[in-house]
Each structure stands twice: as structure tokens, then as C-alpha cells.
């Protein structure tokens, strides 16, 4: 990028500006482009997927009118919200009220810098990749507390405080589960962790040993809690606090919070895919050795699908489970998840002392166990479909 800008300046463009300002201007332009053309559609498609999946789970169809199969519904919602009146309550703190959505947004957007979409498709392969990600996603706490406080509304305040307690507590099991993986991979850089795994399922870190298997579920649950998703969506509990910390927001500011939530879902899925599922690794096909572009595209697709699998599971969980209460949430974190994650960490450390190069047999055994659970699951689904009668519809001719 920098040589390109140097060349432009030599050719006479931007000659009046100081060089650093030109660089900064370009960075802002690139950030804007990425934001509008990649992140916004990503969050939008996630919202569409959520609504369709939710709808089908509830025996109804989700939005399917705007665009083919309703895929442009998010665009219609976005445009509608942009055109709405901007209401700021009179007694609210104007500056904090306006600033809060952006901080929440920054918290999740900055995480996109280290997500490895492909072998070479990563914005910055920091050597503290995963630590950076954990740190940056904690910024949302600040935003949520600001939103809750500045709304000058007791319900919002309650929601903001609950959320702060929740996110800060669940950092610990998430961090410890991630630390387990870092122990095994030996590096914190995202590309490094992917390269420590192979393309085949039994080479994934998910099945490396029983402790990483448990660590995965701990990470996933803790990440759901960080993202304010059901069963931990107490801060925005619709039926208790009207809408929690977003009660006083309307229009585009309101949508920003949800934008950040759906985008955060994707980040959770991407991190789960990177750390546990082998990232963008594809089987080595000799025919593709000469076509790096095609290989890159295939890697991107594989990564996308793996990340979206976990996004789908998060939506599925949201449709199934009720909410936990605040004190039960805290007891779940401190009494159950923190001890278990410590157990995973120590267990993995002990495993690595015993088998420094990894235990292939144990990995294959864990993979078979995982497949057995999946098969059992689908048998149960089959039982449900057979056991409950087909939908009784008294007017089938409509």
C-alpha cells in the first residue's frame, strides 16, 4: 500500500498535503470501504440467517419478501432506521448517549484485524493475536455501561450494570480456555495456531485431548455470555427490562447495538473455527498448487462455513433455551466454569508433559466420540419427527 501511495504522490496528486496526512487519509478510506462493503453485509446476512432459522424452528417462515428469500431485509431495516427521527431524551447525557453505540461498535470491529480468512488473507498477523482479540472485545463493557448510565432511566441502568458484571466475569473462563489452546499450539498468533493443526478432523485441536474438547464448550458458552446472547441475554432481556440498556435508543443508534451483536457472533464463530476447528486448512490437492488464487478462495469458503456453523449453533441455542437469572449466571461462572477451565488447563499441561508430540490414538478416539455424539443427536431428532404427529391443519387447501 505504501509504495502505491508514494507513487501517486510522485505523480503529482496530493502534492499540497504533508505525506503523513495522505497516508492517514488513505487508511481512513480503506477502513470505510472495508466497513461498508464487508462488515455491514456480514452483520446483515447474519441477522437474516438468524431470523430465518428462528422462524423455521418456531414453525413459521421468517422474512421472505424483500429480495429473493428476504435476503435484503437487513438493507431495508438499515435504510428505514437511518430515516427515523433521532430522539435523545431531554434528561439524558447527550455526549455519552451519542458516543456509546460507537464504542460498542469499535469493540467488535477492531477484532476483524486479526481474523484469518485465508492463508494470506489476514489484515495483520500480530504475534499476540488472540490476546489482542480478547482485550479488544472487552471494550464493549465500557460502551454498554455508558449506554445504561446516560439514558437516565432506571431500567437501563440495571441492564448496564448486569451486563458489566456478566461480561467481566465470563472473561475468565474464556481466557482460560483460550490459554489451553495456546499451550498446545505454542504461539498466540492466529496463523500460528492454525498451522499447528492439520486439515483432517482428527488433527484439529478440538479433538486433541479430552481437555481441549471440554475447553471448547467452555469457550463457546463463555463467548455467548460475552456477546449477550441467550441464555445469557439478561442485559437486553426483553420481557424483564423492556429492552435493558437499549431502551431509550431509537433509530440507527438502536440498530448499532444489534449490528455489533450480530457481528460479534461472527467473531465468536471465527475464533472458534480458528482455535479449535483448524481454520482455513483444506486438504492438499496437488492440482491446485499452481493456482494460488483458487486455493485462497477455497480456504476463504472453508473458513466461512466453519465460522457460520457456530453462528448457526448460537442462533439455535437462542431459540431453545430460556434465560438464566443474574445470580444463577454468576454462580454458573464462578462455581462451575472457572474450576472446570482450570482443570482443562492443568490437564492439558500434564498431557503435554506426558506426550510432547501429541497422542494420535487419543485424538482419533476423541474424534470417534465426537462423531458418536453427533450420530446420537440425529437419531434423537429422528425420534422427535416420528413421535410427534405431523402438523394438523384443518384447512389444508389454503
Amino acid at each position: 500500500m505504501q509504495p502505491f501511495i508514494d507513487q501517486l504522490i510522485q505523480e503529482g496528486y496530493f502534492s499540497a498535503l504533508p505525506r503523513d496526512l495522505a497516508y492517514a487519509g488513505f487508511i481512513v478510506l480503506v477502513a470505510f470501504a472495508v466497513l461498508s462493503f464487508f462488515v455491514a453485509p456480514l452483520a446483515g446476512i447474519t441477522s437474516w440467517l438468524e431470523r430465518r432459522v428462528w422462524g423455521r424452528m418456531q414453525s413459521r417462515v421468517g422474512p421472505n419478501r424483500v429480495g429473493p428469500q428476504g435476503i435484503l431485509q437487513w438493507l431495508a431495516d438499515g435504510i428505514k432506521n437511518l430515516l427515523k427521527e433521532d430522539i435523545i431524551p431531554t434528561a439524558a447525557d447527550k455526549w455519552l448517549f451519542a458516543l456509546a453505540p460507537y464504542i460498542v461498535f469499535v469493540g467488535f470491529l477492531a477484532a476483524f484485524v486479526v481474523i484469518p480468512f485465508g492463508g494470506k488473507l489476514i489484515v495483520a498477523d500480530l504475534n499476540i493475536g488472540i490476546l489482542y482479540l480478547l482485550a479488544v472485545t472487552s471494550l464493549v463493557v465500557v460502551g454498554i455501561l455508558m449506554a445504561g448510565w446516560s439514558s437516565n432511566n432506571k431500567w437501563s441502568l440495571l441492564g448496564g450494570m448486569r451486563s458489566a458484571a456478566q461480561i467481566i466475569s465470563y472473561e475468565i473462563p474464556a481466557g482460560l480456555a483460550v490459554l489451553t489452546i495456546v499451550l498446545v499450539a505454542g504461539t498466540m498468533s492466529m496463523q500460528g495456531i492454525i498451522q499447528a493443526q492439520g486439515w483432517a478432523p482428527w488433527d484439529w485441536l478440538l479433538f486433541y485431548n479430552p481437555f481441549t474438547f471440554i475447553a471448547f464448550f467452555l469457550y463457546f458458552t463463555a463467548a455467548l455470555a460475552e456477546g449477550n446472547r441467550t441464555p445469557f441475554d439478561i442485559p437486553e432481556a426483553e420481557s424483564e427490562l423492556v429492552a435493558g440498556y437499549v431502551t431509550e435508543y431509537s433509530g440507527m443508534r438502536f440498530l448499532f447495538f444489534f449490528f455489533a451483536e450480530w457481528g460479534n457472533l461472527y467473531v465468536i464463530g471465527a475464533v472458534a473455527a480458528t482455535l479449535f476447528l483448524g481454520g482455513w486448512q483444506i486438504p492438499p490437492i496437488p492440482a491446485l498448487a499452481d493456482y494460488p488464487v483458487v486455493k485462497g478462495i477455497l480456504q476463504f469458503i472453508v473458513f466461512f462455513l466453519k465460522a457460520y456453523l457456530w453462528v448457526f449453533v448460537a442462533m439455535w441455542v437462542r431459540g431453545t433455551l430460556p434465560r438464566v437469572r443474574v445470580d444463577q449466571l454468576m454462580s454458573l461462572c464462578w462455581k462451575y466454569m472457572v474450576p472446570l477451565s482450570f482443570l482443562c488447563l492443568l490437564g492439558t499441561a500434564a498431557w503435554m508433559v506426558l506426550w510432547p508430540q501429541g497422542n494420535r490414538v487419543a485424538s482419533v478416539a476423541m474424534f470417534l466420540l465426537g462423531s458418536a455424539i453427533a450420530v446420537l443427536f440425529f437419531k434423537r431428532v429422528n425420534y422427535q419427527i416420528r413421535h410427534a404427529r405431523p402438523v394438523l391443519y384443518l384447512k389444508p387447501y389454503i
Binding site: 424452528m57 431453545t320 462451575y336
Partner: protein, 188 residues
């Protein structure tokens, strides 16, 4: 020791019940949804699929209305207003107005039950939305209309026979002390 078994029991119970719940929602994902995508993605008009007894918006067949005012008296919410005037020259009585305010109507069916000829009845219509409140008052008489006199020994005018029979058919839907219903389901 008891605390440890309780701890592990809690974890196992949570995991199994969540597993079961997720299997149920996944099974719903692959079943057909029950949504009727009204009004554009359906085969038949919904109004045609409604049962005979459906109490939709009221309609009046003025040709067989006798002007007995039974419906106006029995309506619990006074949504029916009927005006009958005596024409001084011809000494004939005629309707001047017959208005039903469908936003006051409770759709209870009492007026349809007491009508002797079945001229006021509930149709299958339910789409009554309009852009101004004046449209919610249905006027069934635009110019003075004569009252209907039921003939003894049955109706002979061929144009009126179908109307009279339709009205009577509608009245037969209601339960009466003389009518005897069928037996239990096996005999029916």
C-alpha cells in the same frame, strides 16, 4: 461426597436436557412451517374457505327484509339504525335508511338469529379496513325501498324464491328447541 455427586449430577442434567431441547428445535427446522402466507401466496381466497357459520361483517338482503325492527331491538350495542317512513300519498311504508355501524358491531349473531326471513346475516367478509371512519358505516338503503311482505303458502315469484331459500338456509344453522341433533360421533 454428597456435594460432589450433586455437582456432577447438575452438570449431567443440564447437558442432557439441553441436548434434548436442541434436538426438538432442530426437528422443527426440517418440518414444514404452518404459516399461511396471506394474501398473495395462497391458492384459494380465505373468504371461501371459512365455515358457513362464520360471523363476518353483516350484510342485509333488502329484498326480503320485512321491516319488523327485531334486529334493531335485540342488538346489545345499538349498531343498527333503521328508518321507516309512511309515504303520505300512497299510504305505503318504505325504508328511508338502514345503517349498520360495523365498528360498533360486536359480531355476536343475535340480530341474525331473530330475523324472521334471514335477510340480515353475517357474511364471510372480514376485510373491512378503509381510509376514513365514514366508510365504516354501511348503508344498505340508497333510495326509499319497499318492505317485503312474506306470502302465505310460500313464495311464487321465481326471482324471490332463491333469496327466500338462502335466508331460510342461513336461519337453519341456529339451534332451535324443535330441532333434534345427531347422536354420538359413531352414529353420525
Amino acid at each position: 461426597m454428597k456435594a460432589i455427586t450433586e455437582y456432577i449430577g447438575n452438570i449431567i442434567e443440564t447437558v442432557t436436557t439441553i441436548f434434548e431441547g436442541m434436538a426438538i428445535t432442530f426437528s422443527h427446522l426440517v418440518r414444514r412451517p404452518v404459516t399461511v402466507q396471506y394474501p398473495d401466496k395462497i391458492d384459494k381466497r380465505v373468504q371461501d374457505t371459512l365455515p358457513r357459520r362464520y360471523r363476518g361483517i353483516l350484510e342485509v338482503d333488502m329484498d326480503i327484509c320485512t321491516g319488523c325492527l327485531a334486529c334493531e331491538r335485540v342488538c346489545p350495542i345499538t349498531c343498527i339504525t333503521i328508518g321507516i317512513e309512511m309515504n303520505k300519498e300512497t299510504k305505503q311504508r318504505a325504508f328511508s335508511h338502514f345503517d349498520i355501524d360495523i365498528c360498533k358491531c360486536m359480531y355476536c349473531g343475535l340480530c341474525a338469529e331473530v330475523c324472521p326471513t334471514g335477510s340480515i346475516r353475517h357474511s364471510q367478509e372480514f376485510e373491512g379496513a378503509c381510509y376514513n371512519p365514514a366508510g365504516l358505516v354501511r348503508h344498505f338503503v340508497t333510495e326509499p325501498a319497499p318492505l317485503y311482505k312474506p306470502k302465505k303458502g310460500g313464495e311464487t315469484d321465481p326471482k324471490m324464491i332463491t333469496k327466500v331459500e338462502t335466508g331460510q338456509g342461513y336461519l337453519d344453522e341456529f339451534a332451535t328447541p324443535e330441532k333434534s341433533g345427531g347422536g354420538a360421533a359413531e352414529e353420525g
